[in-house]
Subunit: 220 residues, 2 copies
DNA sequence: TAAATTTGTTAGGTTAGTCTAACTTTAGTA
DNA sequence: TACTAAAGTTAGACTAACCTAACAAATTTA
């Protein structure tokens, strides 16, 4: 059985690994930063995880999850996203409130609970932020998606997920009436600063920053 | 903010205190036994809780929750019972499965979560075992109830709660088709061993042991 | 390629929560 | 009331997860 903390390290490694899909290797500092601990602490834990065959790594090298480690990490991520969905759909939590509570709920140990929860939610495919929910068998549905910033002029897309899940960004999206599924048309890409003139739904045309465009996942 | 462990100690003190309603004082050993730790460990924690003004006690004396300690304990109990209700009602858990998972869920920190959960469950008054769910303000509905063993011959009652919540007992009840609300008529009290001849619902008359009768709460 | 910077590790220390073994106090009983 | 048993405490030790400060390796850059 893994401790609360060990689970967090595995999830962190999984998440960081998923971010650069080509190479899922992760560095000590990144991991420490992600978890809000000091690098020295991360090193300690790494040794422990290696001992338990959950990661492979050697001194001064990169970290990689083993098959078992990955599976455990995915299980935590699955719970996290299912709970987020529950909070959003059933308990009326807002977009930006779900994460914090799900961080706690993801560590509840009960196979039955997570599977029943999934059933109760009617086997959702995506969490409230548009991220895919891993299946019970550990499969993570692959979602074909690009950043809004990668769109060309005069292309239209739909929002499928948020990359930045900070409350600040999510609240901003809410103000702009952007949710998962919202239609966005890119009318102009401004060379000067990379900002985009876009039409969001039926609202008047407006400009959004590069930072904004790099924080939203869309699908053509 | 209280730790997971501190919360458990407060809940234990509350529960043990509620058991002898006249005197809610608790001893170190009882508390330790309840929590599955050694008395020495309990003593250590007690000092800490006293330091934080959550309990009053002095060396070799009895332990009593302060108003604050009681309030915190009740908050944990409230969460526990609401989660049990959720698992039972929404996720199809059985009587004897809810406790273990609720032991974990009761420590999730989020005011909003517990209140929304309560609303989602439509403000239940009792948990699946028939125990009252504390209100958000800390009030615990007082339930007028007696043990089945206290009934006289030819009296009829309804089951309102179980005293013993062990899986063994709950599964036995299930086999006898006893749930909250089941009608029981005491036909005879056998002097020899205190066993009762009872009619449970419409089933044929049968005998139940003292131990059984002392494990069920009923209401005339 | 050598120096400087970044990245990662080691050593030693802290805190919370647990334990065992030995001891002290209180309560029950002869 | 004195003794014994039960209840409770203390001292000292352990583990997990964290820290800081000092050091070592790897990478970047001049």
């Amino acid at each position: 059985m893994l401790s609360y903390t060990e689970e967090n390290y595995l999830k962190a490694l999984l998440m960081l690994g998923l971010q650069n899909e080509d190479k899922p290797e992760v560095g000590t500092n990144d991991m420490a930063a992600y978890l809000g601990v000091k690098p020295a602490t991360a090193t300690d834990m790494l040794k422990k995880l290696k001992e338990k065959d959950l990661v492979t790594y050697q001194k001064y090298g990169k970290i990689l999850l083993t098959a078992i480690g990955r599976k455990k990490g995915i299980a935590v991520l699955r719970k996290h996203r299912l709970w987020e969905t529950f909070l959003y759909e059933k308990l009326d939590f807002s977009w930006d409130e779900v994460h914090e509570v799900a961080e706690q709920l993801e560590h509840i140990q009960s196979e039955k609970l997570v599977n029943k929860l999934e059933e109760f939610l009617d086997f959702p495919e995506f969490d409230p932020h548009g991220d895919p929910i891993p299946k019970a068998n550990g499969e993570i549905p692959i979602v074909h998606r690009i950043l809004l910033s990668e769109m060309k002029e005069n292309e239209t897309c739909r929002v499928v997920a948020v990359k930045d899940t900070s409350a600040l960004f999510l609240q901003y999206l809410e103000r702009l009436n952007v949710t998962i599924g919202t239609k966005i048309t890119v009318l102009e890409v401004v060379d000067f600063d990379g900002s985009l003139n876009v039409q969001i739904g039926n609202a008047p045309v407006r400009s959004v920053s590069v930072k904004f465009a790099e924080s939203l996942f869309v699908k053509k």
